[in-house]
């Protein structure tokens, strides 16, 4: 065996796997999105670009709503997750590992089951709302489910670790002497945080925002379980078009639109954040 062939042989199985089941499908979907026809008479390749225009026109509300919900959930995760990551990294001392573990434990329960459990907890006449209503603390018609906040907080709940872990990883590596130096130079606690810690943690924040926003804005489980007819996201539309209506070209066109929007968003964000670390995989 020639030594030069070794890396290619090592990489070959994964190349085949990712090529056939990841890259090729994306091309296949591009092809499907340009077809016309229906399930009964079959689909034919007509390079019909109009599907995109129709699909985006028809589902632009859901598309925008997905970005809005995904963005709100990301913001919630950042506001909740940053202090937690900061406190664990700087003040949890030797129990840092324990706290991280506690933070990750809930994710041993299946994603669907956790979402369904929230639906159960927040149900209109369920354990929390029902009890409060019986005690006369809430009006009869009060409800939490089927609302935008329910979906947004469900998304934030589902993806919180993706925000906390990258921020924690950066803060944990930070040289504490930087903060001490800032303090020695008469920076107050706020100034030391704003001018030393926060800038240092920005790569972690970038990674966290990316890793939260992409799955949150394309999720459909939370919208389906915790939301209602008024909170449908683009993921729900894609899923329904694909699996229920069998409108493959429309679904494929929507999927590509979603991906294009997210890619544009990531690119814009990367330019704004101006960091090479976001492409950390390039090592």
């Amino acid at each position: 065996m020639r030594p030069r062939a070794v890396p290619y042989l090592l990489a070959l199985p994964a190349w085949l796997w990712l090529g056939v089941f990841f890259v090729l499908p994306l091309c296949g979907m591009l092809s499907v999105s340009l077809m016309t026809g229906d399930l009964l008479s079959g689909f034919t390749q007509t390079f019909h670009l109009g599907t995109y225009a129709e699909a985006v026109q028809r589902y632009r509300v859901q598309l925008l709503r997905s970005l809005l919900y995904g963005g709100s959930a990301t913001l919630v995760c950042l506001v909740i997750g940053y202090p937690v990551a900061y406190w664990i990294a700087f003040h949890a001392g030797r129990s840092r590992g324990g706290y991280l573990l506690l933070l990750l434990l809930p994710f041993f329960v299946s994603f669907v089951l956790r979402t369904v459990a929230w639906q159960f907890v927040l149900a209109d006449d369920g354990v929390v709302l029902g009890t409060l209503k019986d005690a006369g603390l809430l009006p009869e018609g009060a409800r939490v489910l089927n609302s935008a906040p329910a979906v947004v907080f469900g998304l934030a709940y589902a993806f919180l670790p993706f925000m906390v872990l990258p921020i924690y990883a950066v803060l944990d590596r930070m040289d504490r002497r930087l903060v001490e130096a800032a303090r020695d130079l008469y920076a107050g606690r706020a100034a030391a945080f704003l001018r030393v810690v926060l800038p240092y943690s920005l790569p972690g924040v970038s990674a966290g925002v990316l890793m939260t926003f992409v799955p949150a804005s394309s999720d459909y489980v939370n919208a389906a379980v915790l939301g209602g007819p008024g909170t449908t996201m683009i993921g729900n539309v894609i899923q329904t078009q694909f699996l229920v209506n069998n409108a493959y070209p429309t679904a494929a066109a929507l999927t590509f639109t979603l991906m294009a929007v997210l890619l544009l968003g990531i690119l814009g964000y990367a330019l704004a954040a101006g960091t090479e670390r976001m492409a950390g995989g390039r090592g």
Binding site: P3, A92, P106, F111, L113, R176, S218, G281
Partner: protein
């Protein structure tokens, strides 16, 4: 994660206040807001889990597990009384283990190639890995279904395993690559100096050194596979996994057996994780 940090003093007591500055009041009594916030978030995270576990002990008669009726251990004795739920759980386990094994080997080899060698297509490979990790599940799921439809491949159990390996292999490769890059090259040089051939060196030195990373990657693949809902729902055909069974049951009412299974899976994960942490602490 925390292993790489240099030892540093616990929450430094701080130097004596420099002259000319007002001595700050002792902060011993000040409320520790960070700690409270962290615990509040932890409470939020555990709320649905606690309710799920609690209602696995609910003494109800039908399938509507909504209001608390009293305590029973009955459901723990009858965990397997829904044959199709049990079958779904088994399917999940089989898919998960197969995914772990295939993904561990395929991803481990790729990780070794990426961490060790410079070769044509390395940059492109890294880009594809990055894309595969970042791509929304609904996109990869829909794309795979498009492929299977275009090529008239039957969806079902095999398709689910293929799909799961596809989306977990990148995680394994990335985990192993990091380990390969931090591997001390002198270990292998020493083996070669002592007369070991390339294969012997790999078998006796490189592989044992990489095994923890491959295991970690494989376990991650297992966890991702067991948890996956979105991609599976696209390519499953008539196969049903545990998350999909739960999803299907939301409309007709989720029997307490699901709570029990969820609690047991959770408890297993907790035991494994805590054991792992304790082991790591003892080793230190």
């Amino acid at each position: 994660m925390s292993g790489a940090t240099p030892p540093e003093p616990e929450t430094p007591a701080g130097p004596p206040a420099p002259p000319g500055r007002r001595v700050p009041r002792r902060r011993l009594r000040a409320p520790d807001w960070g700690r409270y916030a962290t615990w509040a978030v932890l409470c939020w995270l555990f709320t649905p889990i606690a309710f799920m576990a609690l209602f696995g002990f609910n003494d109800i008669s039908g399938r509507q597990n909504v209001a608390w009726q009293g305590f029973t251990l009955r459901w723990y004795g009858q965990v397997f009384s829904y044959p199709d739920l049990t079958a779904a759980l088994l399917t999940t386990a089989v898919v998960g283990v197969l995914t772990m094994l295939v993904s561990g080997v395929v991803g481990g080899l790729l990780g070794l190639a990426l961490g060790r060698y410079r070769f044509r297509g390395r940059g492109a490979t890294n880009l594809v890995l990055f894309a595969a990790v970042c791509a929304p599940e609904v996109v990869t799921g829909a794309a795979l279904l498009s492929l299977f439809l275009t090529l008239n491949i039957a969806t079902g159990l095999a398709a689910v395993v293929l799909a799961h390996v596809m989306f977990t292999v990148s995680y394994v490769a990335i985990t192993v690559r990091v380990r390969v890059m931090t591997l001390d090259p002198r270990l292998e040089e020493a083996a070669r100096d002592l007369g070991a051939g390339p294969w012997t060196t790999f078998r006796l030195v490189t592989l044992p050194a990489l095994l923890p990373a491959v295991t970690a990657g494989g376990l991650l693949a297992l966890a991702l596979s067991v948890d996956d809902f979105v991609i599976t729902s696209f390519v499953r055909g008539d196969a049903t996994t545990f998350p999909l069974w739960v999803w299907g049951a939301t409309r007709v009412g989720i029997p307490p057996q699901v709570n029990v299974m969820g609690t047991l899976i959770f408890a297993t994960g907790v035991l494994l994780a805590v054991g792992n942490v304790l082991l790591a602490r003892r080793r230190r």
